[in-house]
């Protein structure tokens, strides 16, 4: 039997999968961090990602006008990431303050509906700002491909893969090694016990939203540069996919979200070799159903005994 696919195609899809997977993982981290502490699905997370992408777009357009991008393309890109992360972090904090904090003692579903409301609100704010027109990201890096052995990789893909791995490693070290990170883990474990130990729970929840939102914003800028076109609905599908990734890995589990994101990205990239591309979204959800049937709490999810 001859080989179905050449090694070059498999290598291409490996790179594509890692690129998309890195983006999914960055967004998934925001879901998982918030879920780990508040046990709520932050449905507006996709919109935070979308706002980050637009903030990066605004920063790049501004720098482009003053010719700064010509002299210092790399510094401009860094500035765009920074602007996006700051705007989204602020937005996440405001969202938590207004839409979620008053509902902390309310029923399970109230914050979900509040988040859906916030999501619709933010989409329409952006719709009004951009007057319904799709925006095109300034092309700074000029996509170029490098050939390394069988691998054929573009500079965008290198940036996304390295960038997302760098941010994920940073987050992991932050959570494992710093005082604040330890406080975050303590609050996730048991909120009231953490409060008794002198941890300012409100502050930790705020920091969680800041970190999650900033990671989503970075993903937003990456998506903007990679796919070039952005609009007010761009957060919806990646948001759902990333949430799927978080659940795949075991929601509330930080390495799980990273693994789930990469797994989902790779599964989609290799999946399109076997079925028409339109069914890509089906792959994600079919995979989710399969994984959850055999491991109902995700790949890395712990088995927690039910409270009676």
């Amino acid at each position: 039997m001859e080989a179905f696919f050449s090694a070059a195609i498999l290598c291409d899809q490996l790179i594509n999968g890692l690129t998309i997977g890195g983006i999914y993982a960055l967004i998934a981290l925001g879901y998982t961090l918030v879920y780990g502490i508040l046990f709520m699905i932050n449905f507006a997370h996709g919109e935070i990602f979308m706002f980050g992408s637009f903030a990066g777009y605004a920063a790049l357009t501004f720098l482009l006008q003053y010719g700064f991008t010509e002299q210092r393309p790399l510094a401009s890109i860094l500035a765009a990431f920074l602007a996006a992360m700051v705007v989204s972090a602020l937005l996440g904090t405001i969202l938590e303050r207004i839409a979620y904090r008053p509902l902390r003692r309310a029923s399970r579903l109230a914050p979900l509906i509040s988040a859906i409301g916030a999501s619709i609100f933010l989409q329409n704010v952006m719709l009004i700002i951009i007057k319904g027109r799709m925006q095109v990201y300034p092309d700074l890096l000029h996509e170029t491909f490098f050939e390394i052995g069988w691998f054929n990789i573009s500079n965008f893909q290198i940036m996304i893969i390295l960038g997302s791995f760098f941010l994920m490693a940073g987050l992991y070290i932050f959570i494992q090694r710093t005082r604040t990170g330890r406080a975050m883990r303590a609050v996730a474990e048991d909120r009231s016990a953490a409060a008794l130990m002198g941890i300012d729970v409100n502050r930790i929840i705020m920091i969680t939203f800041v970190i999650g939102s900033a990671l989503a914003a970075a993903a937003g800028v990456m998506v903007g540069m990679y796919y070039t076109q952005i609009n007010h609905m761009m957060g919806f599908i990646p948001g759902i996919k990333a949430f799927t990734a978080a659940v795949l890995g075991g929601i509330g589990n930080v390495p799980g979200a990273m693994l789930g994101g990469l797994f989902l990205g790779l599964a989609e990239a290799f999946g399109v070799l076997f079925m028409p591309a339109q069914y890509k979204d089906v792959i994600a959800f079919a995979l989710l159903v399969l994984v959850l049937i055999f491991r109902p709490r995700g790949i890395l999810g712990e088995v927690v005994s039910e409270k009676v």
Binding site: Y35, L38, F39, M40, I41, I98, A99, P102, L103, R105, A106, S107, R108, L109, A110, P111, I113, S114, I116, G117, A118, S119, I120, F121, L122, Q123, N124, V125, L127, I128, I240, F243, T244, V247, I251, P276, Q278, Y279, D281, V282, A284, F285, A286, L288, V289, L292, I293, P296, R297, V304, E306, K307, V308
Partner: protein
């Protein structure tokens, strides 16, 4: 009180004209969906975000059998029970693999199921005609009268809503309904008391889905043309929102919720581009000031109303 409401609903269409009859028809279809999803979410406490799938199964089930697509023209009244059965089968099909999942895992898997159905409708061209949709769907006939204007539709939908509300109310007060509530309040305690959890979960999914099947058939026949985009995640979310705004587990709540949630954007239409914006803001404000809904169920609080704790 109840008969006064029904009476005033019955005399409404001639008074409000065609446009509002149409809007009221929309509201009515959402009421049927809300009553059905309320069985799953409100009574049995299972968070289902893919409810639109059953709505789509019902709608395509009727549209394929009563349109030029395959040149078949099966009468509406014959197809209605078939659509209900198809949707119920879909509910069982989804129910079996996800029964062991709890809480948010269940939510995301059902959401995925809804998306899968939509993608399939969009891409299964030979059967569903893809994004171009199914056109010229037959209207139902009552005797020789076709139901083809907003006012006639209004009465048919009103009858559907009344039947759905009556059925759901009887279910709620039956042995099955009590089993669901026990399961919702505490699954483990209910199991110890001898309630077959798997059976009752499956029953909730199946019965809940059948309401959406009927709603879908009515929707397809009323629109005359359906497209995969009519069955997006937003429909599931709207139906869930109207249940929660009205008050989980309460049938009058669902009816009020549909009026508020589907009617409000129509009332806000004057503000055009700020319409959806204010709608989103209102959802947030509503949850902050009345998190248990406008007309909460009088019987015990639903489990979903319990403070959140790790499972």
């Amino acid at each position: 009180m109840l008969s006064a409401v029904i009476f005033s609903a019955a005399v409404l269409p001639p008074l409000v004209g065609n446009y509002w009859s149409q809007v009221l028809g929309d509201i009515g279809i959402y009421m049927m969906l809300g009553i059905g999803l309320n069985v799953v979410v409100g009574f049995a406490g299972l968070l289902d975000l893919g409810y639109v799938a059953f709505f789509g199964i019902g709608a395509y089930g009727y549209a394929l059998m009563a349109s030029p697509q395959f040149g078949m023209h099966v009468p509406f009244w014959l197809m209605l029970p078939v659509c209900v059965a198809l949707a119920a089968a879909g509910g069982a099909l989804l129910g079996v693999p996800v029964l062991r999942l709890r809480g948010d895992y269940l939510a995301i898997v059902t959401l995925g199921f809804g998306e899968i159905i939509r993608v399939i409708l969009n891409n299964l061209d030979p059967l569903t005609n893809g994004p171009r949709g199914l056109l010229r769907i037959d209207p139902p006939f009552l005797g020789a009268t076709p139901i083809n204007n907003p006012q006639r539709w209004y009465y048919l939908i009103l009858a559907g809503v009344l039947l759905a509300a009556f059925t759901a109310d009887r279910l709620n007060n039956s042995r099955i309904g009590r089993a669901w509530i026990a399961m919702r309040e505490d699954q483990d305690a209910a199991a110890v008391m001898g309630i077959d959890i798997l059976k009752y979960k499956l029953l909730a999914f199946t019965i809940g889905a059948s309401f959406a099947g009927a709603g879908g058939a009515i929707f397809a026949a009323r629109q005359g043309a359906i497209f995969p985009e009519n069955f997006s995640l937003m429909v599931s979310i709207n139906v869930l929102c109207l249940i929660i705004i009205g008050g989980m587990g309460s049938i009058p709540g669902v009816i009020l919720g549909a009026i508020v949630l589907i009617g409000l954007p129509e009332v806000l239409r004057g503000t055009e581009q700020y319409r959806m914006l204010s709608f989103g803001a209102l959802l947030v404000i509503m949850m902050i000031f009345r998190p248990s809904g406008l007309l909460p169920a009088s019987r015990r609080r639903p489990a979903a109303a319990a403070p959140r704790e790790p499972e």
